[in-house]
Structure formats: structure tokens, C-alpha cells
């Protein structure tokens, strides 16, 4: 294993609790959680030793167990309690820029208006906010950003066009449908067979015109614009939106694909992805964000809302290959109903800086959520993945594995939380984050967390930060494998467990290519 035996020890904490219920009051629950976020930072310094800190945190608060029944909304703790409100956020956007193409879709406009109000009200996150402690966005030149849709057509036409390789299927042999957001225009395709099944897979403008009632039903139900400055910004300004709706019981055989292409400097892109899989339905959907790297900053803010109905199946693959000038902010959440199944895959290779909130709410009994993430950073990239697995009903299970490698001066942050609500008995939660630090200057922070309020659960977590084992390296060299190849092979081996969780050859190949490119 590409980890220092002596140092990168995987730490595991298995929490099994039985009947611990006492009468402790849980009044200040959420607050306490936000503040007591552990500072277990596994930091790489120096060549000689690899330091691995995998601090576990088990917050145990025993309240009288309350079983969550139908119709009850369980309380979800969220992180990032806002600090002092800043009056000026410095973004040069105004309410006139709220997209308003389809006049009849009044609900959409009012959603955006209200998101805009939130955007104006909410403070810009700062490192005083718990969730943003390790991700500093002060260097984002907010004042010089321009919304891409505001560009003159001539300027938009000059932006780099989409490379054909990004339009190739990543999953299976072909696409059942594809939505491509270019700088100036959006193209939508959906196979007749799938359309006939009643599946809607289209952009927001078309959805608002042709399926307003559907859009209204699903918009803003899983992620709220008031969850943060960037969520509000995306909610208000997202000109690029996807609606994927799969009706009850429908099995979509061919995967669907969308590409958000965001080239250019000094530009702001906003996106909003809505996926609604009704009871008993199933679909595979791949969404990619990409752009070529250029010198100046650009930004993207996005919302992803996923609804997985009862006994439904969603396999959602997200690939983030933004250019390394991009500042990328996303708020993503999935909710999974009774016996539903979500398989959520994240691949992050690009952007200058990313702050990604992704969350699974296991709302229905027997629901299952799996999150698999891989990231590989180089240069001065900074990727921050903030994950949350919320067990809000009994018999739910979640399984998270994020693996990352870091080259040069790059940095990664993963902070994850498993939350088990009162009464969510017999849940099984797992989270693991493994990092392979390939340079003396790179640094990985890995912060697992548990917050358990039920007394019959099984939660396991582990976090490691390690470096290439010199004995493994020598072994490969001794077989004639040259240094660069040897390191690549070790890195590929390190990622293999996560690749095994991704049954898509195209996605795996893309990642293998990235390893080769990043490890020159």
C-alpha cells in the first residue's frame, strides 16, 4: 500500500451503542456541533516522515429516542453558522441580470427573485465560518467578474469551443440523451424511446416553457437558496439548468449526459441541476463541468438537487474538470426515500479552488446512499469537499469513500460528518478518506466526524494521509520500471479501490489519463 506503514495508520472507530438513552437535554445540539468541529488536521510536512492524523470524533448526545414517522420533518444539523454579516460582498451582479427568458414561468422568476434577496442578505463566507476555515476565498477577484450571458455575441463566439472528446460517452456505448451548455447556446438531445417513457431531460428554459408544472414541483425542494451566499447566487442567476425527471416505475436503460462548458477569463457561470427520480424508477446520469485553463480567474456557482423516490435508483456521476483558473462553489444534496438507492460518484480534477458541499439525506427507512469520490490536485489547486451523511430514518445505510492524491503545492480538504438522528436505529454509516501526498509542499487535511443521537447504530470511519512507500518504489524500479512510471503505477494502485466502485470504463479512463498528465 502506498502508505508509510509506520505512520499512515488507518484509524477506525466503531461505534456501537446500545441503550444508552439518558435524559440529557439536547437543546444546544446544532450549535455545539458547529463549534466543536474538531481540528484534526493531518498535515504533510517534510520528506522524512509522513504524518497521519486521523482524529475521530464521536459526539454522543442521548436524547429520549424519538422515532421519525411519516410526515415529520427531521431536523438536520447544518454546518457553517454564519459569522458577522458583511454589507458589501463585492460581486458586481445586479437584479437585472436574473434570467427571465420565459415570461409565463412566473414561479421560476419568483424563485430566482427570492434567491436574489437571499444573496443580498447573506454574508460572504470567511475563514471565521467553521465550514470555510480551511478555504480562503479572499483572493477571488469578485469585482472583475462578468456573467457570461452578459457578453456580446461576438465575444462569446470567440471563446474556445467544446473539444469532441468531452462529448463522447463516458458510460456505456452511447447516450440516451445529452445536454450541452456552450458559452452561447444550449443543445438538448433525448432519444425518442426515452422521451416516450415520459422522461423529461431538458434545460430550464425549455422546462419552464413546456413542463412548467413539473419544474415547479421539483425546483428548490432539496437545496434552499438561503443555505449560503453561493447557493443563493446560483439559485438567482443560474442560466444553465438541467431538469431530469423520471416518472414512476420507469427504467431508463441508456445513460444520460450533460456537459457544462465554461471557457473564458473573468467570467461567472451559474448552474442548477435538478434530478427527480420517482418511486420505483431508475436512471444513470453523468454531469460534467469543464473548461480549458487560462491565466485569469473565472468562477462557477452551482446547485445540485437530487430526489430519489421510494425503491428508486439513481446513479449520478459528477466530473469536475474545470480549468485551473476556476473558482468553483457548489451546494449539492440528495434525498433518498424508503428503500431508495443512490450511488453518487464524484471525480474532481480541475479548478483553482473548489468548495463543494454535498450531502445525502437518508429520509426513508431502508434507504441506501453511497458516495465515492476521487480527486487529484497539482499546481496550487485547492479542493475542499465537505460531505455529510444524514441518517434520518431507521435501517438506513451510507458508505462514503473519498480518495485523493496531491502533487506539487496543492491542497485538499475533506471534512465529513455522519449524522444519525434520534430514532434512526439500526443504521450503518461508513466514511473513509485516504490521501496520498506526492510532494513535500502538498498538504491534505482530513477531518471525519460523527454525530450520533440514536443508540443502536454502527458507524465506522477512518482517515489517512500518507506518502509513497520507498520500498514499494524501489521494488518497481528494480523491475526496470522507470521512476515516473513507478510513481504513476503506485498512484493508480492507490486509486484502484475507488475505481472498482465506478463501473464506467469511460470515467476510469478519463481519470487514468489525468494521472498521466498530472504526473509528468
Amino acid at each position: 500500500m502506498a502508505k508509510k506503514k509506520t505512520s499512515a495508520r488507518p484509524k477506525k472507530a466503531v461505534v456501537r451503542k446500545k441503550k444508552v438513552a439518558t435524559k440529557k437535554v439536547a437543546v444546544k445540539k446544532a450549535k455545539t456541533v458547529a463549534k466543536s468541529k474538531p481540528k484534526a488536521v493531518a498535515k504533510k510536512k517534510g520528506a522524512a516522515k509522513s504524518k497521519a492524523v486521523a482524529k475521530k470524533r464521536v459526539v454522543t448526545r442521548s436524547a429520549a429516542p424519538e422515532v421519525i414517522g411519516a410526515g415529520q420533518t427531521p431536523r438536520v444539523i447544518t454546518r457553517g453558522g454564519a459569522a458577522a454579516v458583511q454589507t458589501k460582498s463585492g460581486f458586481p451582479f445586479n437584479a437585472e441580470q436574473i434570467p427571465n427568458g420565459v415570461k409565463e414561468a412566473a414561479f421560476l422568476h419568483s424563485y430566482r427573485k427570492s434567491a436574489w434577496n437571499q444573496f443580498e442578505k447573506l454574508p460572504l463566507p470567511s475563514t471565521n465560518d467553521e465550514a470555510w476555515r480551511r478555504t480562503d476565498i479572499r483572493q477571488l477577484k469578485r469585482g472583475s467578474l462578468q456573467i457570461v450571458d452578459g457578453l456580446a455575441k461576438a465575444a462569446r463566439d470567440k471563446l474556445p469551443s467544446i473539444p469532441a472528446r468531452l462529448l463522447k460517452p463516458l458510460v456505456g456505448k452511447g447516450h440516451g440523451g445529452q445536454i450541452v451548455f456552450g458559452p452561447g447556446k444550449t443543445s438538448v438531445q433525448l432519444s425518442k424511446a426515452i422521451a416516450k417513457q415520459g422522461v423529461v431531460f431538458t434545460d430550464f428554459a425549455t422546462a419552464a416553457a413546456k413542463h412548467p408544472e413539473l419544474l415547479k414541483k421539483v425546483l428548490g425542494k432539496v437545496v434552499k437558496p438561503d443555505e449560503g451566499k453561493f447557493a443563493a447566487m446560483a439559485g438567482a442567476l443560474a442560466g444553465r439548468g438541467v431538469l431530469l425527471y423520471v416518472p414512476k416505475g420507469v427504467q431508463v436503460d441508456e445513460p444520460l449526459h450533460s456537459l457544462l462548458w465554461g471557457p473564458g477569463a473573468g467570467l461567472a457561470y451559474f448552474s442548477h441541476v435538478l434530478v427527480w427520480v420517482e418511486d420505483g424508477a431508475s436512471v444513470t446520469y453523468v454531469h460534467e463541468s469543464a473548461s480549458p485553463t487560462i491565466g485569469e480567474q473565472s468562477m462557477h456557482a452551482g446547485i445540485v438537487e437530487l430526489h430519489v423516490g421510494s425503491r428508486a435508483n439513481l446513479r449520478f456521476v459528477e466530473l469536475q474538470s474545470w480549468g485551473e483558473h476556476m473558482w468553483n462553489f457548489t451546494h449539492e444534496r440528495a434525498r433518498v426515500k424508503k428503500d431508495g438507492n443512490l450511488d453518487w460518484i464524484f471525480g474532481a480534477l480541475g479548478s483553482h479552488l473548489t468548495k463543494n458541499f454535498s450531502e445525502i439525506n437518508l429520509e426513508g427507512e431502508g434507504s441506501v446512499g453511497r458516495m465515492s469520490g476521487f480527486y487529484f490536485t497539482d499546481g496550487n489547486q485547492h479542493l475542499d469537499h465537505d460531505t455529510q451523511q444524514n441518517h434520518l430514518a431507521p435501517h438506513t445505510s451510507s458508505d462514503l469513500l473519498f480518495k485523493g492524491a496531491l502533487e506539487e503545492q496543492s491542497r485538499s480538504v475533506w471534512q465529513g460528518m455522519i449524522y444519525v438522528a434520534p430514532g434512526a436505529q439500526r443504521t450503518d454509516g461508513y466514511q473513509a478518506n485516504r490521501n496520498l501526498v506526492l510532494s513535500k509542499q502538498a498538504r491534505a487535511d482530513s477531518i471525519p466526524g460523527l454525530e450520533i443521537q440514536a443508540d443502536d447504530v454502527r458507524c465506522t470511519h477512518g482517515a489517512t494521509v500518507g506518502k509513497i512507500d520507498p520500498d514499494e518504489y524501489f521494488y518497481l524500479l528494480s523491475r526496470g520500471i522507470p521512476p515516473v512510471e513507478a510513481r504513476r503505477l503506485i498512484v493508480k494502485g492507490f486509486f484502484d479501490p475507488i475505481m472498482e466502485r465506478i463501473p464506467f470504463e469511460g470515467v476510469r479512463q478519463r481519470f487514468q489519463q489525468a494521472i498521466v498528465q498530472k504526473m509528468k
Binding site: E472, Y475, R479, P482, L489, G493, D496
Partner: protein
């Protein structure tokens, strides 16, 4: 001429001199056994020949095919035809035996010809199967992560499999027999015997005669305190088996202390 010629080799590990002016010549196509008590420097010699960074060469030369290999990187030594079967093979999780071997083979091809596009997969498969059959290995072995969770015997077999696939001109086998049961020992020895020929020389490091029963060495050396102190034919190994190392110690400790 692929004779291996070690001249006055001095090696230090963590500040301690382990090899103290070692001289040894292994002629092309000959198999030499190297024996000696624990701590005499046998493994140090093995690692040094392969270029492990923890072994600091403070003096001497090792000539092979017209080059002083001490000036080469480990991968270059491998390209030159040198192979080390590790005493403790390292696990490489996530990398299958097949993937690893293909990468290694292609690296060798590329070193010979930078334009090489790599061995075609069908050809590679045939080669793998052939070598695995030679070592009586199950073909499923190819899909397992290299040395990860392997038993002691499997690890040693995997070493010999790699050796067979890479087809070196000179191999060092560092206690390849340790931890093997009789059947595994026979398999491994047969694997080595199959490679034997005018273009394959080897230095077989072992403590026991039983491996040498299968691999009849041309020459036997005894190492003591960082030097070769006795050289003879197969009968020397038999003498050690019967009498142990005390007579060696007695004969050479005097020399050492007399210095």
C-alpha cells in the same frame, strides 16, 4: 560478455560498514551459491547490486557487460539484465500481477527501443500463461494485487514468475527458499533450473543445502564479516550443512582480529 565482476566492494548501512572489500567474479552462465552466517552481509550484497538507496557504496566497482553498474539507477540495472528476487517481496496494493508485469516488460522493451509501442496484449497473455504453467501457478494469480495478501510461498513464486518473464542475464536470489514448504521449494527450484543456460548466471543466497539439492551450483562461496572467505565446489555446501559455520568463524575471526 555478461560476467559479473565485483571488485573491492565496500558498503555502509546507516553508518556501519557491512561489506568490507568484497571480491567476487561470477562467470557467464554459471550459478554460484552464497552462504554464510546471519549478519555476514549477504542481503547487503544483494540490495547493493540492485541499487537500493539505503546501501551506501563507499568503495569498489561492479562490472557487468562493460559497465560499472554502481553508476546506474536500479531501473537501468534491470534493463541491463540484472534481477533481484527479494527475500521480502513488497506488496503493491491496487496493482495486479498482470498489470505490473506488463508495465515492467514494456519498460524493458522501451529501454531497448524508445519507439516500442509495447507488447501486444495477446502475446503478453500467452507469455504469462506459459510462465505460470512453468511454475505450476493458477492463472487467476495474474489478476491478484501484487504480493498483497500472498502467502510466503506465493510471494516467492511471484518473484520467480517475474524473473522468468523478464528473462535476466544475471539474477540474485536472496533466500528465495526461506519459508517454502517442500513442494513450493521444488517448484521454485524448477523455475530457476528452467532458466539455466549459457546466458543466465545467478548468485543464489541461501542458508540451506536443500535448495542446492535442486539447483546444483557450479561454485559455492562462504561469506563472513563482509568478505568472501571460502570458495569451492558443491562439496563446500555439504561441509557447511554437516559442520556449521564454526570452523569458518575460527579460521577467519583470527584474520579479522589480526588486522
Amino acid at each position: 560478455m555478461s560476467q559479473l565482476d565485483i571488485r573491492d566492494l565496500r558498503v555502509t548501512v546507516a553508518g556501519n560498514e557491512i561489506l568490507k572489500g568484497l571480491n567476487l567474479t561470477i562467470e557467464q552462465g554459471k550459478v554460484h551459491a552464497l552462504m554464510g552466517p546471519n549478519g555476514s552481509g549477504k542481503s547487503t550484497l544483494a540490495y547493493t547490486l540492485m541499487g537500493h538507496p539505503n546501501y551506501e557504496v563507499t568503495g569498489g566497482e561492479v562490472w557487468f557487460k562493460g559497465q560499472n553498474i554502481l553508476e546506474l539507477e536500479p531501473d537501468q540495472r534491470s534493463h541491463l539484465g540484472i534481477f533481484l528476487a527479494f527475500q521480502y517481496p513488497v506488496a503493491i496494493p491496487g496493482v495486479s500481477v498482470a498489470n505490473f508485469l506488463r508495465t515492467a516488460l514494456n519498460s524493458h522493451r522501451k529501454a531497448k527501443n524508445p519507439e516500442d509501442k509495447g507488447m501486444p496484449i495477446p502475446e503478453f497473455r500467452t507469455l504469462m500463461k506459459e510462465k505460470m504453467d512453468l511454475l505450476k501457478m493458477d492463472h487467476s494469480f495474474a489478476g491478484r494485487y501484487l504480493n498483497d495478501g500472498f502467502s510466503g510461498g506465493e510471494k516467492k513464486r511471484a518473484e520467480i514468475l517475474q524473473m522468468a518473464a523478464l528473462d535476466p542475464e544475471f539474477a540474485v536470489l536472496d533466500e528465495t527458499d526461506s519459508g517454502l514448504d517442500i513442494d513450493a521449494l521444488r517448484n521454485v527450484a524448477e523455475g530457476v533450473q528452467a532458466l539455466r543456460g549459457p546466458n543466465f548466471g545467478a548468485l543464489v543466497i541461501t542458508h540451506y543445502q536443500r535448495l542446492l539439492n535442486y539447483i546444483n551450483p557450479d561454485v559455492v562461496h562462504v561469506m563472513f564479516d563482509g568478505r568472501i572467505v571460502e570458495t569451492g565446489g558443491p562439496e563446500l555446501a555439504l561441509k557447511l550443512e554437516a559442520q556449521g559455520y564454526d570452523w569458518v568463524r575460527e579460521a577467519h575471526q583470527l584474520v579479522t582480529s589480526g588486522q
